[in-house]
């Protein structure tokens, strides 16, 4: 595995925090080992197209990830020190959340990331800068410029994604068989 790939710890509440906000793009909400008063869980769930799941207890469901992130930035801009943020989900989701949190002034020790869900990647085409979400395998055609891209095993924390470079630059048309991501 490439050295640039982050290593994630299993989900665990950081009890040094006074308030806890969990954001996830996965359907399963984590089991909480501690019954604390100050825990909120933000999810992305729809019960039918365009219909938002009802809010229950300390869980708040958003219609989609962009809506969740907009509210996250707003919440963090008003939060007091003592908050811990937990992001659980696909690698691009948790690093997007991480980058929003860092911009809000959280430090790395106040952010806990857990990778969960399908091993899909965000790929950034190095030729036209198009971003391709949820790519499951290491060869993908760029919807922006049509290039067949090889997904390099190098993770950009800033972009929360992987670099895609033209796979047939040497011999146009010669595209190897794709392999499904196993990490």
């Amino acid at each position: 595995m490439s050295k640039s790939r982050p290593i994630y710890a299993p989900f665990k509440l950081d009890l040094a925090g006074k308030a806890h906000l969990i954001v996830t793009n996965q359907p399963e909400v984590p089991e909480l080992e501690a019954a604390l008063a100050n825990i909120e869980i933000w999810t992305v769930q729809t019960i039918a197209p365009g219909v938002q799941a009802p809010i229950r207890d300390n869980t708040r469901a958003f219609r989609a990830v962009p809506e969740l992130f907009t509210h996250l930035a707003h919440r963090l801009s008003r939060a007091a020190t003592g908050l811990r943020l937990y992001a659980i989900g696909t690698e691009s989701f948790i690093w997007d959340a991480h980058n929003i949190a860092m911009a809000a002034g959280l430090s790395a020790t106040e952010i806990h990331l857990t990778q969960s869900g399908p091993l899909v990647r965000r790929v950034i085409c190095t030729h036209c800068k198009t971003t391709i979400e949820d790519v499951p395998q290491n060869i993908v055609t760029c919807p922006g410029c049509g290039a067949a891209l090889f997904v390099r095993d190098h993770f950009s924390r800033r972009l929360a994604g992987f670099m895609g470079v033209k796979v047939d630059a040497e011999t146009p048309g010669q595209i190897p068989a794709a392999e499904v991501f196993v990490s």
């Binding site: 040094a16 925090g17 308030a19 801009s77 939060a79 007091a80 020190t81 809000a104 002034g105 790395a108």
Partner: protein, 304 residues
């Protein structure tokens, strides 16, 4: 560096500002938070005390330090207050900075008590983000500290008449705030415990304490590798005892803040007085910070 005392400004009966100029050449630039070790000649021995620079980091012609005469002083500050005069030449170390400003902070919250204000006086020259300074002092020192601070809404002096609500202050800070603490031990302990109870991460708490060695019971130290057995007198620190025996013991801040002087303990029970070792490492009693810590047992054996 040889430096000459150019000016002594008495701010209160126990607080004085010293202006030091190099005997020759220009001084190194010292970022805000830096300190120097000043060698103070005493009648029986040399004292090495750390003082924060309060002068502007840009000023390469002189350093300014502020010295409080410590009650029951072991010698250093009493000599500077009682015997030093303009024209005296002292040996001063190059500046070291163990208390730098965190430039990623969105806001700086500076809390000091007593003479712990000094590093923040250097900060005031260059702070790049919004800040709030709260300084705690005794009523008799209020005028002296006020004379050192600009009159601004974000700078508050607290005496017994105007007590600081530490819990409310720390609970109200937004996520990008970094906390800086400098002052005597009991102030640091209370402020640190309050911040940690409110969930402040260690990464956002920066602290420096120059209480320095306070002395205590005499004890014996046996140095395994050097084959020496030394007596640490009540008014001497362990580090000073090693230095007096001609040993090149590691040290940097001489105030229990940096960890440079840590030595392995082979047997005996250290009396940990530093700000470096974690609770786990304190409990393990496997090492000691020689500049401030002493012994609870009559003898310590060190791997040195």
């Amino acid at each position: 560096m040889k430096m000459r005392i150019a000016k002594i400004l008495t701010l209160s009966p126990s607080i004085a500002k010293f202006t030091l100029q190099p005997v020759s050449g220009a001084l190194p630039v010292a970022a805000p938070g830096a300190h120097v070790i000043v060698e103070i000649p005493g009648p029986t021995r040399i004292w090495k005390n750390a003082y924060s620079l309060v002068s502007s980091p840009e000023d390469r012609g002189q350093y300014e330090i502020i010295v409080r005469r410590v009650e029951h002083s072991r010698g250093g500050s009493a000599w500077l207050h009682g015997h030093a005069s303009a024209g005296d030449v002292l040996e001063v170390s190059a500046p070291q900075n163990l208390f730098p400003i965190n430039r990623l902070a969105k806001k700086h919250l500076l809390l000091s008590a007593g003479i712990g204000l000094t590093p923040f006086l250097a900060y005031l020259h260059t702070l790049n983000a919004p800040f709030e300074l709260h300084h705690l002092c005794k009523p008799e020192d209020e005028a002296a500290f006020r004379s050192l601070l600009p009159n601004a809404a974000n700078i508050t002096l607290h005496t017994s008449r105007n007590a600081l609500d530490l819990n409310a202050l720390l609970a109200a800070q937004k996520l990008g705030t970094h906390l800086y603490l400098c002052g005597p031990d009991n102030f640091m302990r209370v402020a640190l415990a309050t911040a940690q109870t409110l969930g402040w991460p260690d990464a956002k708490i920066h602290q420096e304490s120059f209480g320095g060695a306070t002395g205590g019971e005499a004890f014996t130290v046996h140095l395994q590798r050097s084959g020496l057995t030394l007596e640490v007198a009540p008014e001497m620190s362990l580090l000073e005892t090693l230095e007096a025996a001609g040993l090149a013991a590691p040290c940097l801040c001489r105030g229990g803040a940096c960890g440079e002087c840590e030595l392995p303990v082979l047997s005996g029970l250290p009396d940990h007085r530093d700000h470096v070792l974690t609770p786990e490492r304190r409990a393990a009693n496997a090492s000691i910070l020689t500049c401030v810590s002493r012994a609870l047992s009559p003898e310590l054996v060190l791997d040195f």
